[in-house]
């Protein structure tokens, strides 16, 4: 089966509603440009985002007791409801929730949490138990099983380095370091020297042209335009390209990108504010772009970090912790807040105890959006109910 077949087939399988003729489509008022093609977009916040200052339990006095230096006052929080409110930088997250397009899953984590960035990211990316080690990522395994031939653009990673989550046996995903590179293709060859080593320049030029699937990407880019202006940040740029690829009907199943800088041991208020502003603005542009294109119901954005941070501050920052909220945007999710508010009195060595296993969210994403049984890739957790 070739990629087109696989992707259109899974498209028709995915979610019962999609079997409806497009003019009866339950979500868009008009038929969408892409009919029934679901995709997942992951935004990984590197460094361990402090969940308690992202989605804030402002009604809990312990929050203010334990975080005397860095607690956010109730007045600045947005979208307050049931004792929880968004960080002031996340104004569009609050709006999206109001619109019913954003769900918050609270206290997401896994048993026997590891507080090493390195290892915890590995666990999130392989979806294994914290004492199991795997070579391939959960999305890579999924794509291995779904793509019979290898499909180079079934997964797109916009990052400097390959992502373990997408690593499988077959090359079903590609890493695009600088999407701008695709823009200049077919135009004039770059002129001038790149380095003082002509052999290196030659190999680099080849390396730039070897991306398998780059033609598909070219086509998708040619079909789409940027109608919304995105912030000129790394994440903004990456999400803009993802939007263009989705709008251009590239039909990738998974997009992955990341944002750095969440390791706030110090000076947390400033740094997190800056990071969350970048996150909010980039996601907001992406959201309105795909809303305009009537595609947001087909695109599920997942925002997560490898762990949350210690409940008690260490002065002006926080140390590595465990459970944290996870955000799901679009893809016709239910737009609710799931799970209990963080329990700040029952801690495990000063850290939150997780209540929702991230793998149950993965299972639900695969099942509800991709019509795929997560047990086939070794995820034993039952899918999280009610998200979609």
């Amino acid at each position: 089966m070739n990629r087109r077949n696989f992707l259109s087939l899974t498209g028709t399988f995915t979610g019962g509603s999609l079997l409806l003729p497009s003019f009866l489509h339950a979500f868009g008022q008009q038929p969408s440009l892409v009919i029934g093609e679901q995709c997942l977009v992951f935004i990984q916040l590197n460094g361990g985002n402090d969940g308690l200052n992202t989605f804030v339990p402002y009604d809990n006095p312990l929050y203010y007791d334990l975080r005397s230096k860095i607690a956010l006052s109730k007045d600045v929080l947005l979208g307050k409801n049931n004792g929880m409110g968004f960080h002031p930088a996340l104004k569009d997250f609050a709006n999206m929730q109001q619109n019913g397009d954003l769900s918050v899953l609270q206290n997401v984590g896994y048993p026997e949490p590891v507080r090493s960035h390195f290892r915890s990211q590995e666990i999130w990316q392989t979806a294994t138990d914290s004492n199991t080690y795997a070579n391939n990522g959960w999305l890579g395994k999924y794509l291995d099983l779904k793509c019979n031939d290898h499909e180079p653009t079934a997964g797109i990673n916009l990052d400097n380095i390959d992502n373990l989550a997408l690593k499988g046996d077959e090359p079903n995903s590609i890493t695009v370091k600088d999407p701008n590179r695709f823009k200049i293709k077919n135009e004039k060859e770059e002129v001038g020297k790149l380095s003082d080593n002509p052999q290196l320049d030659f190999v680099r030029k080849i390396a730039n042209s070897v991306m398998e699937g780059s033609e598909d990407i070219q086509k998708a880019l040619a079909k789409s335009t940027a109608e919304v202006s995105y912030p000129k940040t790394n994440l903004g740029k990456n999400l803009e390209w993802i939007a263009r690829l989705v709008k251009g009907n590239l039909n990738s199943k998974v997009y992955y990108t990341s944002q750095n800088g969440y390791d706030t041991h110090d000076n947390q208020l400033n740094i997190q504010n800056r990071n969350l502003t970048e996150l909010n603005d980039a996601v907001a542009s992406f959201y309105s772009d795909l809303k305009n294109a009537k595609l947001m119901q087909n695109v599920t954005v997942v925002v997560f970090s490898e762990f949350g941070r210690r409940v008690k501050d260490n002065g002006s920052g926080t140390d590595h912790g465990t459970a944290a909220p996870m955000f799901v945007i679009g893809g016709s999710n239910k737009g609710k807040v799931f799970g209990n508010n963080p329990n700040l009195s029952d801690l495990d060595n000063g850290d939150l105890k997780h209540e929702i296993d991230f793998r149950s969210v993965y299972a639900s994403l695969l099942h509800d959006k991709m019509n795929f049984d997560a047990r086939k890739i070794g995820i034993k957790n039952a899918g999280f109910k009610g998200l979609f």
């Binding site: 960035h117 390959d162 046996d169 090359p171 290196l200």
Partner: protein
């Protein structure tokens, strides 16, 4: 410490201070500072360990790096030159026709029999022997303690090209190959004479059809154009006359020899000399020509060191080659020891052989199907005993096209995750296969378990990449973060991923 040094140290101290203060975002804060204050501070470019680099150049992987370091390059070369050649014919040839009588019988059988299957069977058997011969050679390249002889044999193999495709007699192909091995470090002139007298060469370049009154110029032409002087250093008359001298040199029992009846004994003029010349005399005259040392010297420089050697270097070493009467040992010693001092890297694109054997060595893959390796080489345009034409592999930029690069990367991905190249994993009824199943290759990688993420990155870079810069370093540190614990379970997987990333970089393609 000079002023500049102090400035650098001050800058570095300031940077780490900022890093502590601002966490991961320190770079954006210090950027203006860097630009204003430390414009002259180039971030360090790390280069490959010199002995690893030379192990790759003089062999096929990093295997000899330690040896070069311990012995020193000079001694390493001496010991390489002194290696003995195993005179024994490999067993794989035992059933192949060897003597003229055996060959004649086989030919006769194929001609007379009506049984097409029998003919096919004979042909297929010889193709299989030829395949085994490739594997035999490849194993030699991998196993020799001093593989420089095999590297040089392969150089001659690509200089005095003679392919199985055309020669079709495995014994002759082997004899030709063995001659190149025995005389790998001998004398260029002697070797040229000997090569002309191999059955393989007289067959390959059609001298079997070069007869007294029915001249075939092929061997005469390539002798001048591709084996010795190079284009522009002879005339068409020289080729015609040389062909007369070579007429009648044809298949013999073990070596090619002149057959009286087929010789052409006309008086000829060859490079201004007049007389009746046979193969040896022709070669003697060729080696009196001014241009003789440069063509092959340029090729040697290309084979070992530079895709585009400068003409100054070619002249410099070429003149020396003539001075030492075309003896290879002094020439190679001079080239290698003098170029070693220059500390140049990234001047040559790896050929497929070095590419795959280095991966195999670094990943410590013991049981790798040699047949699959030969298949990879073929796919990558370096089929042993089977160059596309008499000019041989051109090398350099021709080793890489986007297709080849992509294939290299795919192969790197497969090997790094322990998958053999010969079979795709099958998914039984939609289920995952066990990652430890026995179809997998055992791969592992050397790294210092007492190191930190940075020391491990440095260690690997030094072994794998001809150079790394600051931005690559940053990417590597995202893969192997500062809190990476090399002693933890599963740590090797992470190092393998780092290695996998490195070997897909352009910097891995160069030595």
């Amino acid at each position: 410490m000079n002023r500049f040094g102090r400035c650098c140290v001050a800058a570095v101290n300031r940077i780490s201070l900022l890093k502590n203060r601002f966490g991961q975002n320190y770079l954006s804060i210090i950027k203006p500072y860097l630009i204003s204050k430390v414009l002259t501070l180039n971030f360090q470019i790390l280069v490959m360990n010199r002995n690893t680099l030379w192990s790759l150049r003089l062999g096929f992987s990093g295997k000899e790096a330690q040896k070069i370091e311990t012995l020193g390059l000079q001694k390493f070369l001496e010991q390489s030159f002194a290696t003995k050649v195993d005179k024994k014919e490999p067993d794989l040839l035992v059933d192949s026709p060897k003597t003229k009588a055996e060959l004649k019988a086989a030919r006769q059988l194929m001609k007379t029999t009506d049984d097409e299957d029998a003919v096919k069977k004979i042909l297929r058997k010889e193709i299989q022997v030829s395949q085994k011969l490739k594997e035999w050679w490849l194993e030699k390249m991998m196993d020799e303690a001093f593989p420089l002889r095999e590297k040089m044999t392969c150089f001659w193999h690509n200089h005095f090209v003679s392919t199985y495709q055309k020669v079709k007699v495995n014994h002759w192909v082997f004899q030709h190959n063995q001659l190149l091995r025995e005389q790998a470090f001998g004398n260029f002139k002697t070797l040229t004479k000997a090569v002309l007298k191999t059955n393989a060469m007289v067959r390959y370049l059609d001298n079997v059809d070069n007869r007294r009154d029915k001249i075939n110029e092929n061997l005469s032409r390539e002798l001048l154009e591709l084996f010795t002087l190079g284009i522009g250093n002879y005339t068409e008359e020289d080729i015609k006359n040389g062909a007369k001298g070579l007429a009648g040199l044809t298949i013999g029992e073990t070596n090619a020899n002149y057959r009286k009846l087929l010789e052409n004994n006309d008086t000829i003029t060859y490079f201004g000399k007049t007389g009746t010349f046979k193969a040896d005399e022709l070669v003697d005259i060729i080696f009196e020509q001014k241009a003789i040392p440069y063509f092959v010297t340029r090729k040697i420089l290309k084979w070992f060191l530079y895709d585009k050697p400068s003409e100054e270097l070619v002249t410099y070493y070429g003149d020396y080659f003539r001075k030492v009467n075309f003896e290879l040992q002094p020439l190679l010693t001079k080239i290698f020891t003098e170029e070693y001092q220059k500390n140049i890297s990234g001047s040559k694109i790896k050929d497929p052989l070095v590419y795959i054997l280095q991966l195999k060595y670094e990943l410590k893959i013991e049981k790798m199907n040699t047949r699959v390796l030969t298949f990879f080489l073929k796919q990558q345009g370096m089929d042993l005993f089977n160059q596309p034409n008499v000019k041989g592999w051109n090398g350099g930029n021709e080793w890489l096209s986007s297709q080849m690069y992509l294939q290299r990367n795919n192969v790197a991905d497969l090997l790094c995750s322990g998958q053999p190249l010969n079979r795709r994993r099958k998914y039984m009824s939609d289920e995952m296969m066990d990652e430890n199943s026995d179809t997998m290759l055992r791969v592992s990688i050397d790294f210092d378990a007492n190191g930190t993420n940075k020391t491990i990155i440095a260690q690997l870079s030094e072994r794998v990449l001809f150079q790394t810069d600051d931005s690559m370093q940053k990417d590597f540190e995202e893969l192997l973060k500062y809190d990476f614990n090399p002693k933890s379970e599963g740590a090797e997987n992470a190092v393998l991923r780092l290695f996998n990333t490195m070997v897909k970089l352009p910097e891995f393609q160069l030595i």
